[in-house]
């Protein structure tokens, strides 16, 4: 396992280098001159020229990449041209928000998705199965922003139970933090729960028809032990893979949900920065989320070892 872990760790380096080049290269394909966009309504030619020099836009691409990577290696992600804030500060401001939202949403997804998938597989063809499937279909097909706005209208405007939007740090006030996060976390978690439910169901159905499950039953084990200990454990591998991917996606920011609930996370930061052609911010945030994604996949690989003893040898 250790060797495998080290091998995977080493592959991270070229992956990150490739990712950094990709981020940098793809961004150059964005149409429009960033200096012009940043120059604002007035389009003063001296301002445009100044910004072009400041952003190194007048230099060849490899030079600009070198400028950026040189800074990154020294821990300097650059500065937002729009707000003058250092990108690192912006990332550190948003990261806890996005991580919290992602973890909350993921927890909700796990709590709903996996039990629903198990129930649906075990009770295949029963009313429970149909109910779980209807729920999954609803979760997958409901657009996040629509559900979000409806929840705001119900819980904030009509009932006045929860704040309509905004974010409070949990260290400042945990109650207010949870009150602000519960709706967006549910909206995000709900959609993922549906996907998890479908996958858990199909993985469980496959496993439940396996020989060893029949053997377990023949041994006279209780149905509960058969399902949870023998079947579920073996069904978990694909679910872990999917879970890691979904969590990775959550960590890269939930654009629409963050927009609707005005949660100041990565999603909002990236979108605004792309529209404003604030390159340094886009590059910094994408680099951080790409790293998180890669690390999560590594963790998922390690989780296989925990659930699948055969891999340990």
């Amino acid at each position: 396992m250790f060797e495998f872990f080290v091998k995977r760790l080493i592959t991270i380096v070229p992956t990150l280098v490739f990712v950094s080049m990709l981020i940098f290269g793809l961004q150059q394909l964005l149409p429009g001159d960033p200096a012009k966009i940043l120059a604002g309504e007035e389009q003063d030619p001296t301002v445009v020229a100044y910004l072009r020099t400041k952003l190194h836009l007048d230099e060849p691409l490899p030079m600009r990449y070198a400028h950026w990577v040189g800074g990154v290696l020294q821990g300097d992600l650059g500065e937002s041209v729009r707000s003058q804030e250092p990108v690192l500060k912006l990332v550190l401001q948003k990261l806890p928000v996005t991580v919290e939202l992602a973890l909350l949403a993921f927890t909700i997804a796990l709590l709903i998705g996996i039990p629903a998938g198990i129930i649906s597989a075990v009770g295949r063809g029963t009313a429970w199965d149909y109910a779980a499937n209807v729920f999954a279909l609803w979760g997958i097909s409901t657009p996040n922003f629509w559900l979000g706005i409806l929840m705001i209208l119900l819980f904030s405007v009509q009932l006045g139970w929860l704040p309509a939007s905004g974010y409070v740090s949990p260290f400042e006030d945990l109650g207010a933090n949870l009150a602000a996060m519960i709706m967006p976390a549910f909206v995000l978690g709900n959609a993922i729960a549906a996907v998890l439910m479908r996958h858990t169901r199909s993985a469980m159905l496959q496993v439940m028809s396996a020989d060893y499950v029949r053997t377990a039953r023949a041994k006279g084990l209780s149905e509960r032990t058969v399902v949870l200990k023998h079947a579920l454990r073996n069904a978990l591998t694909p679910i872990i893979t999917l879970g890691a991917l979904e969590l990775g996606t959550l960590l890269s920011g939930a654009v629409l949900t963050e927009q609707v609930f005005t949660i100041p996370g990565f999603g909002k930061l990236i979108v605004d920065s792309v529209f404003n052609r604030d390159y340094a911010v886009v590059q910094g945030v994408v680099l951080v989320t790409a790293t998180a994604y890669i690390v999560l996949n590594l963790l998922a690989d390690m989780a296989y070892f925990l659930v699948n003893p055969r891999l340990r040898n």
């Binding site: 429009g32 604002g40 309504e41 910004l51 729009r82 707000s83 705001i152 939007s165 100041p264 605004d272």
Partner: protein, 503 residues
């Protein structure tokens, strides 16, 4: 009140409703402002925050007239080349530094020389600044420039603390220090900007809040939901489709102000070779036919739910400088068809670039449908704003839906758009006679004389129609009905003086 308390407001309501609410004004903005440095700032929404943060030499009122702020009086020299300002006494910046003539000189020079300053162009005619005494300053101009007062009533007239500006260099915008009614506390990008009352403000009796929290909420529906649920006291840019319902809500009030900007269709008539390649750019008769095939009132109704004033010039018909000799033409399909026939192109076809905002997209569709009746075949190309601006700048377009946020003096809506080779001249319109008139309008100070020149410019520009002006949108605000003192100034910026929350 802390930010957390702001979000816990519904729970706190039962405990201490009046105290907490009366002290903090919570404003919902449509975008996150850019850098908070008056010299570098570029966005409209940043000006909303500046209104509470940074006082200017002058302000404008509901009728766009110049009002004193940090300058209490002004005097032009006979040749219009020197502007002498008398400054308000006893004003200090938020860091305790004194506001005086030396500070004005520093600020004007900073606006003019700071790398990347967006104010340089606005103050270009100011050649030098002389400190006469502590409360008198003289601005020497290279040529007469009547829009100067209006410029000084906007960001170019904002005064920052020289000491803080020198210490912070180009990072000043991260922690701005001005002399306005509120001072900067903190900013979390895309989340909030917090200001607190300036206890030494020269007009402190007019300030009735201890704190202002600006929260950017880009989605109009969510912004409104926050107002309705009591988490915000004031929101700007309400969606026009929501206004009718809001007016029935007794807990809320609305304001409607005709903007100083405009919505129009910019046409490439000489910016690039593309202009000559299609009949719309080539022939003024086709452009006239295009205009005649539009029903402006219909456009305003369908696109803006009638929350706009139709117009055909860079200023609204309600503006004192509107040229009445060039009235808004009525829709006339027969005449449009005749003009197209005369031009030899009964079915002209061109591509209309429309930014991806919902307003612009709706507008493009209605224009397409309306002009089809006269024989036009309009193809719509949706382009995200940055892309569309780039196309306009390169002349890589035929027609382009473009809005301008507007400036208090007509010069700000006109000179840079219709002057030869000016930065915002996307149409390629260039007429030496118009240029002469544009310069003349800057030299004249007498409003009646200026108006005559604007009338001549309107006649000349209208002949070529590089821009088909359509309408002037309404700024739509909604706020807690207990909030009083909201002033409807046409620049769309919320003035905080005299704002008061009833218990």
């Amino acid at each position: 009140m802390t930010f957390s308390a702001r979000l816990l407001w519904p729970a706190l309501l039962a405990l201490a409703p009046l105290v907490t609410q009366a002290q903090t004004l919570r404003v919902g903005l449509a975008e996150d402002p850019d850098v908070l440095d008056p010299s570098l700032a570029r966005s409209f929404v940043g000006r909303v925050v500046f209104t509470a943060l940074c006082d200017k030499l002058f302000d404008i009122d509901e009728k766009l007239a110049i009002q004193p702020q940090l300058a209490t009086a002004y005097e032009w020299s006979a040749d219009s080349k020197t502007l002498t300002l008398k400054l308000r006494a006893g004003v200090t910046f938020h860091d305790g530094e004194k506001f005086d003539a030396a500070a004005v000189k520093f600020n004007i020079e900073r606006h003019k020389t700071l790398p990347g300053s967006n104010r340089r162009g606005e103050l270009a005619p100011v050649a030098s600044v002389d400190v006469v005494d502590a409360s008198t300053v003289k601005l020497n101009l290279s040529a007469p420039f009547s829009p100067l007062l209006a410029q000084l009533a906007d960001r170019a007239g904002m005064m920052v603390s020289p000491k803080a500006a020198q210490a912070a260099g180009d990072k000043f915008g991260v922690k701005p220090v001005c002399s306005g009614p509120f001072k900067f506390v903190e900013r979390v990008a895309q989340d909030r900007i917090v200001l607190e009352r300036n206890p030494t403000y020269w007009n402190k009796d007019a300030i009735h809040f201890d704190k202002i929290v600006y929260t950017p909420i880009p989605d109009a529906t969510v912004r409104l939901a926050n107002l309705k649920s009591g988490q915000l006291d004031f929101i700007e840019r309400v969606a026009s489709s929501d206004i009718a319902k809001l007016q029935a809500d007794k807990k809320l009030k609305t304001s409607r102000i005709t903007e100083i900007g405009y919505q129009g269709i910019t046409i490439n008539i000489g910016k690039s070779d593309k202009a000559k390649a299609n009949p719309l750019g080539r022939d003024a008769r086709v452009r006239e036919a295009f205009e005649l095939s539009l029903d402006r009132q219909g456009l305003a109704q369908v696109v803006m739910d009638n929350e706009a004033t139709v117009g055909n010039q860079w200023v609204a018909p309600t503006n004192a400088y509107y040229a009445k000799n060039v009235p808004v033409p009525k829709r006339d399909i027969a005449r449009a068809k005749a003009l197209l026939k005369e031009a030899g192109v009964p079915n002209p076809s061109f591509t209309l670039v429309a930014p991806t905002t919902s307003d612009a997209q709706r507008l493009a569709l209605v224009v397409q449908a309306m002009t089809r009746e006269a024989g036009f075949d309009v193809k719509i190309q949706a382009a995200e704003f940055a892309t569309s601006l780039n196309m306009a700048d390169k002349g890589d377009y035929e027609a382009y839906i473009l809005a301008w946020s507007g400036r208090a003096d007509p010069d700000g809506n006109l000179f840079s758009f219709h002057g030869c080779k000016q930065p915002l001249n996307y149409t390629g319109y260039c007429d030496p006679e118009t240029d002469k008139l544009l310069n003349q309008s800057r030299e004249l100070r007498d409003p009646a004389e200026r108006k005559k020149v604007f009338e001549q410019i309107a006649t000349r520009v209208n002949k070529e129609r590089p821009v088909i002006y359509l309408y002037h949108r309404n700024w739509l605000w909604a706020y807690n009905a207990k909030l009083s003192g909201v002033r409807n100034v046409p620049d769309g910026l919320l003035r905080v003086a005299d704002l008061k929350m009833a218990p």
